[in-house]
């Protein structure tokens, strides 16, 4: 009953015309920001922040939050159509979404991502509504030892992204190496910057994601322009998923939502890791993992559900503890602080209209997003009809603007070019970029938590197995490694056997 009463308070607060208007503006902006490569919610929210001086704190946060979760919807659009990840978390959508688009199934991919986004967001919201106070405390149980074990599991999962775990592993290591660039968190020692002060806070994640997927793909496509697929006409029917698509993607959405909801509540892990983990899970569970990377619909549905679920549950630590999970969340907190509201454990009781109004606005916002995104699919698809000679220069401009906007640094544009060339070379050698990206995201977190766990345990490695949550995750990691080895040995044996048989006949 409490929940219903609270939602009632929320409804009253959220259903005013001003709130609805700002919610609409927020999600609309979010969608566009998400679609535009590189211009992520971070840039958009920092641009909008000054405006929030003139509006009340409730409407300000409703609008900014709308940008935040709206961008998760839009993020995969460019990834699917153009292999351009707008945000790091939508890089996963490139892996199977882009092949789907190349097979003429862009409409289905976009339709499923919209539905998956909605499913994920609603799952995240349900958790937010019913369990906020409990999961906030649960997230705090995760100390550095637990985080390290979780990251280790993530790295092992990343190896499975490639068809060859060895090549995947090599890319993970390269990603880890690139992530070492920058300032060491424990000692402040500056590593591998070669005297460039721009590198002292590390390579830009956005530049890396855009370079290794987007720019590399453009370089590759310049030689192999193929316009044949663009002439087909897109009918409403061709956009709708068929029965098989639904059968495969619905369970994936459920799993993705669960994974995303979990990761969202852990401050500092965020949407990217959850979508990678959801992808790895789907690939592991699939009867036929070979389909992945070639347009498997589960590979689009699960990560999309995951990153939207985590975008919602990420508000749990932010609002209930005042601990922002990522920089964008910190910015949204900043908007509240500007208005003199300090988020913390008392927020729910001291500002019930704000908290519940915000939650109801999330629900409204997500419904608006679905209503808004489905008719837009046709418009987005028509992007593919633009001739490459016009499309590519435009994309490159967008990439440059987007990368620049993250920290107003020209250096990042050079980075994206360099990474793009690296990505092209890796592509020629048939290395997958996704494990590299995950290695890059997890590397610094893993190192930080490993060293911190050891500092806290005064140097004893036992801390990783003495703590029950950490131990459980390590056991799962161990099983995953065994599984990878076993399945690649089995594949090798099968290949040998077929080779022998064909030799005998």
């Amino acid at each position: 009953m409490d929940v219903i009463a609270n939602l009632g308070i929320g409804l009253q607060a959220a259903l005013t015309p001003t709130m609805l208007w700002y919610c609409f503006i927020g999600v609309l902006l979010g969608t566009f920001i998400g679609v535009l490569p590189g211009i992520g919610p971070l840039a958009a929210i920092s641009l909008l922040l000054p405006i929030t001086y003139y509006i009340g704190p409730e409407v300000a946060i409703v609008m900014l939050a709308g940008v935040y979760y709206g961008a998760q919807y839009g993020g995969s659009t460019a990834a699917i159509l153009l292999r351009l990840p707008g945000t790091a978390s939508s890089a996963v959508a490139c892996i199977d979404g882009n092949p789907m688009a190349r097979n003429g199934r862009a409409g289905v991919a976009l339709f499923i991502t919209t539905i998956a986004s909605f499913a994920g967001a609603i799952t995240g919201l349900i958790i937010l509504i019913f369990f906020s106070p409990y999961i906030a405390k649960l997230g705090l149980k995760f100390g550095s030892a637990e985080y390290f074990s979780l990251m280790l599991l993530g790295l092992v999962a990343a190896c499975t992204f490639s068809d060859s775990p060895l090549k995947g592993g090599a890319m993970v290591v390269l990603g880890l190496l690139l992530s070492m660039i920058g300032t060491d968190v424990n000692t402040g020692v500056i590593r591998y910057t070669f005297g460039f002060s721009e590198l002292s806070s590390g390579l830009s994640l956005v530049a890396l994601a855009m370079g290794i997927f987007g720019v590399a793909d453009i370089i590759r496509n310049i030689n192999t322009i193929d316009t044949s697929r663009l002439n087909e006409r897109f009918t409403m029917r061709s956009m709708l998923p068929n029965r098989d698509d639904w059968r495969l993607s619905l369970p994936s959405m459920a799993r993705g939502s669960a994974i995303g909801s979990f990761f969202g509540t852990l401050p500092g892990t965020g949407a990217s890791i959850s979508s990678f983990m959801a992808y790895a899970t789907e690939k592991k569970l699939a009867k036929n993992p070979q389909r992945f990377g070639k347009g498997a619909i589960e590979g689009v549905a699960a990560p999309e559900a995951a990153n939207n679920a985590s975008a919602q549950t990420a508000f749990v630590p932010t609002l209930t503890l005042g601990i922002p999970g990522d920089i964008t969340m910190a910015l949204i907190l900043g908007a509240l602080i500007i208005h003199g509201i300090t988020p913390g454990p008392q927020l729910i009781t001291s500002q019930p209209e704000l908290f519940w109004g915000l939650i109801v606005s999330f629900i409204i916002g997500n419904i608006l997003l679905v209503l808004f995104n489905i008719p837009m699919i046709g418009v987005w698809i028509s992007l593919l009809k633009i001739p490459y000679r016009l499309l590519y220069p435009t994309i490159l401009i967008f990439i440059s603007v987007g990368v620049f906007s993250v920290s107003n640094s020209i250096f990042d544009i050079y980075t994206v070019i360099g990474i793009g060339i690296l990505g092209y070379v890796l592509n020629m050698l048939r290395f997958d970029p996704a494990p590299l990206l995950l290695g890059f995201i997890l590397g610094p977190l893993m190192e930080e938590h490993f060293r911190r766990a050891l500092l806290l345990s005064r140097g004893s490695l036992d801390t990783f197995i003495d703590r029950p949550i950490s131990l459980t995750i390590l056991i799962i990691t161990g099983l995953a490694v065994c599984f990878i080895i076993a399945s690649s040995v089995r594949r090798r044996l099968r290949a040998l056997r077929t080779a022998k048989e064909s030799h005998a006949s």
Partner: protein
């Protein structure tokens, strides 16, 4: 038609020396006639950014020119600081600096600027202090209580450090030096993750900024042990200050200030100093400072310049005593 452009240029060229003859007074009178850029070495949403936006908002209203807040985070604010050091001292590019401005000199070998020589200090916006917190399941009656507890622990206690090379880091160093407690610094990438580990009881104590600490103390998710200000804070008078227990504890402040490139017209500096002081004394400026546990101050540009010189020396002494290796 072709001749018009060169002719216009000739006229301009002839006029240029005249305008130089008019001297600095005219420049100050015309100031500001174009948009003012406030460069901030911190990302949007933080305290420094909030200060910058308060100043930007106030200046825009007073001068009726657009003021732009340009966030250039990274490298301990030195990227933003360098940009201002190399800008024209015309008063249109200003820096909203924080403690790192005077601290960086003790942390880096080769700063691309000199925090004293390359700047025209304009105005000190505010001074903030921090609160020593303990994890929720560790309650102490006094600071002495905490020191006794730490002495009993075979491995000492752990100090969460929110951001290496931050003023909170230096505070921790200084506290460990002065109190001679057996403490281990556990570095975090910013204050938020350090606080998360404190309320999750993974780390024992930490120095936290006032604004972040208060809600947690009120809800019991963390315990306040002492404040770093020389006297008890007005809105927190049941929390003792550290120097009530450690008598000659050198109190330090984190600070926020407005600076321009070296060689600014003193008339413009004076004017900005007066106007910015007024902005921070205004209702929203004072509110902002109060949330950070600070009060508006009123000091001249010269006094602020002296403050910066002293502050550089102060950090140097702390960093040297703490064996901080320069990068």
């Amino acid at each position: 038609m072709r001749l018009t452009t060169p002719r216009a240029l000739l006229v301009l060229a002839a006029a240029a020396p005249c305008s130089l003859l008019l001297g600095t007074q005219a420049v100050a009178d015309n100031y500001p006639s174009q948009p003012i850029n406030l460069i901030v070495g911190a990302s949007a949403g933080g305290t420094t950014d909030a200060m910058a936006r308060e100043v930007a908002e106030g200046l825009a209203q007073k001068y009726d020119v657009p003021t732009v807040v340009d966030n250039r985070p990274g490298a301990g604010a030195s990227i933003a600081t360098e940009a201002v050091a190399n800008a024209d001292p015309d008063g249109y590019t200003l820096l909203v600096a924080y403690t790192s401005h005077t601290l960086n000199e003790s942390l880096f070998h080769e700063l691309p600027y000199d925090p004293v020589e390359d700047f025209s200090p304009i105005s000190l916006l505010g001074e903030v202090s921090s609160i020593l917190l303990s994890r929720p399941d560790l309650e102490f009656d006094s600071l002495q209580d905490m020191l006794d507890y730490a002495a009993e622990q075979p491995d000492g206690i752990t100090f969460g450090v929110g951001g290496l090379g931050s003023s909170l880091h230096m505070e921790t160093l200084k506290f460990i030096q002065e109190s001679e407690v057996v403490g281990y610094e556990i570095p975090y990438n910013g204050t938020a993750p350090a606080i998360a580990d404190l309320i999750g009881s993974h780390v024992d104590v930490m120095f936290a900024p006032f604004a972040a600490a208060m809600p947690l103390v009120e809800s019991g998710d963390a315990n306040a042990i002492a404040v770093t200000s020389p006297e008890r804070m007005p809105n927190l008078d049941d929390i003792p200050s550290i120097n009530e227990t450690l008598s000659d504890y050198p109190t330090t402040y984190g600070w926020f200030g407005l600076l321009g490139p070296a060689g600014m017209d003193p008339a413009i500096v004076e004017r900005l100093n007066a106007d910015v002081t007024e902005i921070m004394h205004g209702e929203s400026g004072a509110d902002l400072l109060e949330r950070e546990g600070a009060e508006p101050i009123d000091i001249s540009a010269e006094a602020f310049a002296a403050f910066i010189v002293d502050d550089v020396e102060r950090w140097k002494a702390i960093a040297e005593a703490g064996d901080i290796e320069k990068q």
